[in-house]
């Protein structure tokens, strides 16, 4: 457990962050008290509103990596939801139906000569969460058909939705008052007092909203949900293979991002007491994107800073700077300088920011991840334990629960005209180790892909533990206890070793978005257990991975990446482990070390299906060898039998005399 405590005792940094947070909070609360200027407080309140928008977009773009160019649509939805339900725009006829709502003070009866009318008076405090829910609903509605699309298509479709929403708002003027905009929207009331037009109450609501959404963002980021988002951002296919439901996870990001915007929309309209379609067009979506990019995609503090800075730049600084330029122009007699008005060129500045940030500082002002230095010699050798398998008893139990093994029958896969697999049969008995060998391009990896649901098949049956796998999406196949590694290593490169292994457990953990935010005791226990389990798994590889648990995977050596990938698969508590060339790129010593470790896993009760070129590894591990060539099974048997098989010799070593010449030599 020494390593466990090691992971948790990185206190100094956390302490420093706490102090900084406290200072910022105090400054934010004190600002209107110290600086008694209504216009400036109003600007600060707007800046805070944009910070909440940036936080929402950051969940979509920064965490989940989905480029949303129509984010302002959700802002508009939240704004109009509140606007319509608190203004005189929509006034149905009064009837008994409305009476209960009147008692709840959601509506008022307005006397009218032609029959009494209903005036909606839903409280701001109710609408704040309700608008968030409505916007989230639209997020799901827009997202469901489009989230399957490639990233760049998604961008253009969201741009489309971002355009459609203001157009619809403009066109259905009976509900929205069209281009003229909603008027007479109620100001919020608290304890019987209306907020009115003073800036400071709005300011405090806004910074409370920022604080709340920052808290939610951080909690989500550091949870099972946040890890799943980042996994999808890094490598969608690998995420699916590790048990992440892509569509659901993306929809969740979309919905939560939309909810943030919906709540902000309500706040914004309550503050302005008006709403027009022009307030929510493409330029607003881009402005929020600029804030996120500027502050740092994925960085909670970064996007808040980005939003506040850019918003205050517009409302405070640009005018001042323009003034200074004019003064300078007067001073040095350059009349052209007097014509410069930077406030008009804010969008030009946005454009420049986007380009310069992408070219020179893609991580933004406050990068989401810090660069880590390589381990020192001491750190590398601090942990001397090698292969602590006894601690993995949990894995063994899970694996021994008893299953009937994997059965592949007549599976065929075609790519265009090419037959990658032709009616392949294969069984892996529970607790067995089966190796698949064959020349490159013989269909081995295709076999893995079809078993794990990454490739569609053209006929055949795949059953695991009596359950049909064909047609199941990859994340459900993992749930059934089938985990894999990839020949070309598909790790989440920008995440730490620990996070990679934690994502492996995704399917075995339960934390949903709500639990992630509130962290009830059960969730805390689950998270701690997940980390303990991850550490145990890393411990499998002795001092290879444990000291590097917090390092970014992209900085590891080839052999260590292979190990992390196996650890990630093991973390999902599989019943069967599919290893695609686990020793490729390893030297003989590393190869033997890994072979021993795989053997130990097997001894714990894990069933293993292995693609391997190195025949000595195969001989050492496998009970049975299946030989593929041109997508067909050409031989099957014990390692000894297979080595003596003529067809295998030909496939692998070349035909006839050529092969014999070497064999005899």
């Amino acid at each position: 457990m020494a390593a466990m405590t090691d992971l948790f005792t990185r206190v100094p940094l956390a302490r420093r962050q706490q102090i900084l947070t406290l200072l910022v909070a105090v400054a934010a609360i004190a600002f209107p008290l110290i600086h008694d200027n209504d216009a400036d407080v109003d600007s600060a309140a707007n800046a805070a509103a944009y910070a909440t928008l940036a936080l929402g977009l950051n969940i979509v773009v920064g965490f989940a990596g989905l480029l949303d160019l129509g984010y302002a649509a959700f802002f508009a939805i939240g704004a109009y939801a509140y606007g319509i339900l608190t203004s005189f725009q929509v006034m149905p006829h009064w009837g008994p139906f409305w009476q209960p709502f009147a008692w709840l003070e959601l509506v008022q009866r307005v006397p009218n000569p032609g029959g009494d009318l209903v005036h909606f008076t839903v409280s701001f405090w109710i609408m704040l969460p309700v608008s968030a829910l409505i916007a989230a609903g639209f997020g799901v509605l827009f997202g469901a058909p489009t989230l399957r699309l490639r990233g760049d298509y998604l961008a253009i479709v969201t741009l489309g939705f971002g355009e459609i929403v203001p157009i619809v708002v403009r066109n259905v003027d009976s509900v929205t008052n069209g281009a003229a905009g909603l008027n007479g929207v109620q100001a919020p009331r608290l304890l019987g007092h209306s907020f009115g037009i003073a800036a400071w109450p709005y300011y405090y609501v806004a910074i409370a909203l920022v604080a709340l959404l920052m808290f939610v963002s951080v909690r989500l980021r550091d949870s099972r949900i946040g890890r799943a988002w980042m996994a999808i951002r890094e490598d969608e296919t690998a995420a699916a293979a590790m048990g992440v439901d892509r569509t659901r996870t993306k929809l969740l990001a979309f919905a939560i991002g939309a909810a943030f915007a919906g709540a902000t929309g309500t706040f914004y309209v309550a503050k302005l007491q008006t709403a027009t379609p022009e307030m929510f067009g493409f330029p607003v979506s881009v402005m929020i994107l600029v804030m996120v990019v500027f502050g740092g995609m994925g960085s909670v503090w970064g996007v808040v800073l980005g939003a506040v800075f850019l918003q205050l730049l517009q409302s405070w600084f640009l005018e001042d700077i323009s003034g200074w330029i004019h003064d300078l122009g007067n001073l040095i007699h350059q009349p052209w300088m007097l014509r410069i008005d930077l406030t008009e060129s804010i969008e030009l500045i946005f454009g420049l920011i986007l380009v310069f940030m992408m070219l020179y500082r893609r991580d933004g002002l406050i990068p989401a991840t810090r660069k880590q230095s390589a381990l020192s010699f001491e750190q590398q050798h601090a942990e001397v334990r090698r292969g602590g398998f006894t601690a993995l008893a949990g894995l063994g139990e899970f694996a021994r629960e008893g299953h009937t093994g994997l059965e592949v029958k007549g599976v065929t896969v075609r790519y265009g005209g090419l037959v990658a697999l032709n009616a392949v049969d294969l069984t892996v008995p529970a607790g067995g180790v089966v190796a698949v060998i064959g020349p490159n391009g013989s269909g081995k990896s295709t076999l893995f892909n079809v078993i794990t649901g990454l490739t569609e098949n053209d006929g055949g049956v795949i059953r695991f533990d009596g359950k049909d796998l064909l047609g199941l999406p990859p994340h459900q196949i993992l749930r059934e206890g089938v985990a894999r590694t990839f020949q070309n290593i598909r790790l989440f490169t920008n995440l730490s070793v620990l996070d990679n292994v934690l994502i492996g457990q995704h399917a075995r953990l339960k934390t949903g978005p709500i639990a992630a935010v509130f962290r009830p005791p059960g969730t805390r226990r689950e998270e701690v257990a997940a980390r303990v389990w991850a550490t145990e798994i890393l411990g499998l590889f002795g001092n290879r991975l444990l000291p590097r648990a917090t390092q970014t995977v992209g900085h590891l050596s080839y052999a260590n990446r292979r190990r992390v990938e196996i650890a990630r698969a093991l973390a999902s508590r599989p019943k069967i482990l599919l290893l695609d060339e686990p020793t490729a790129g390893m030297n003989p010593a590393e190869t033997m070390e890994l072979a021993e470790q795989i053997k130990s896993l097997h001894a714990l009760g894990l069933t293993i299906l292995l693609i391997e070129h190195k025949l000595d590894v195969v001989t050492r591990l496998a009970d049975k060898v299946v030989v593929l060539d041109h997508g067909e099974k050409i031989a099957e048997g014990t390692p000894d039998e297979v080595r003596k098989n003529e067809a295998v010799l030909e496939a692998y070593l070349g035909r006839g005399t050529l092969a014999k010449g070497t064999v005899d030599a």
């Binding site: 490729a584 041109h630 080595r643």
Partner: protein, 241 residues
């Protein structure tokens, strides 16, 4: 035999990954030299380093007496290095003829272009039959013929082949290897990455064995076939006795 290509202490990195480690190769004019090794040992990186897709971090690649490691791929092709890529990599929606044209991309179109076409047709009569077919619809074997033909259209002095046997039926593998020998007899130098070790050693003059980015064995093909240590290093993984 005059030297045509030489790697001198070449190191190659992908980001933090050190792929080729102080690698030295020498390939003489008119030779077939084979590069053997398991997956992910640096074979394809070697090919990419020769073609200039990857630049060595240190060390030198010398072709025909000139250091080429900083030259663009196009410059190298002009100097006479042509590739036969792994898995053929034809342009799938272009016709066979257009693929052959692409092979001659760096050359001026002159009468020798037609001579070279004729030469390809004589080596691969099947290619001539399929000239106007879109290459994505060819069989694997036919694609390999076009890929080799495409390399020949560059009028190279060195052809680098990356796993020419991959995914081909055994019968066709033999044909391909015969054609490689035939081209070699006509004077072409060939550097070939191949996992089909016995086949490769049966036609190569010399070979290098690569393991985790290092050359662990080298020598004449005949020597290597007899060398017991090759079993440990490479064939050992395929040991059959």
């Amino acid at each position: 035999m005059p030297e045509l290509l030489r790697f001198q202490d070449v190191n190659t990195h992908y980001g933090d990954l050190h792929v080729l480690k102080d690698v030295n190769y020498t390939i003489g004019q008119g030779e077939i030299v084979s590069l053997l090794g398991g997956n992910a040992c640096g074979k394809s990186t070697t090919m990419k380093t020769i073609m200039g897709v990857v630049r060595p971090t240190t060390g030198s690649v010398i072709f025909d007496g000139v250091a080429i490691e900083t030259m663009s791929t196009a410059e190298r092709v002009k100097r006479g290095i042509a590739p036969v890529l792994e898995a053929r990599r034809l342009f799938p929606r272009m016709t066979v003829y257009e693929n052959l044209e692409m092979g001659a991309y760096t050359r001026k179109r002159g009468p020798d272009f037609n001579q070279d076409l004729e030469r390809v047709y004589s080596l691969f009569p099947r290619v001539k039959e399929r000239l106007n077919q879109v290459s994505g619809t060819l069989s694997g074997g036919e694609q390999q013929m076009v890929a080799i033909g495409r390399a020949l259209m560059a009028r190279p002095r060195l052809i680098c082949m990356d796993e020419p046997s991959m995914g081909l039926s055994p019968l066709f593998v033999e044909q391909v290897f015969e054609i490689i020998q035939e081209i070699n007899r006509q004077g072409m130098t060939i550097f070939m990455v191949e996992q089909n070790a016995n086949m490769a050693l049966s036609i190569a003059h010399r070979a290098y064995v690569l393991q985790t980015g290092k050359v662990v064995l080298s020598g004449s093909a005949a020597e290597l076939r007899r060398d017991p240590s090759i079993r440990e290093a490479y064939l050992g993984e395929l040991q059959v006795t």
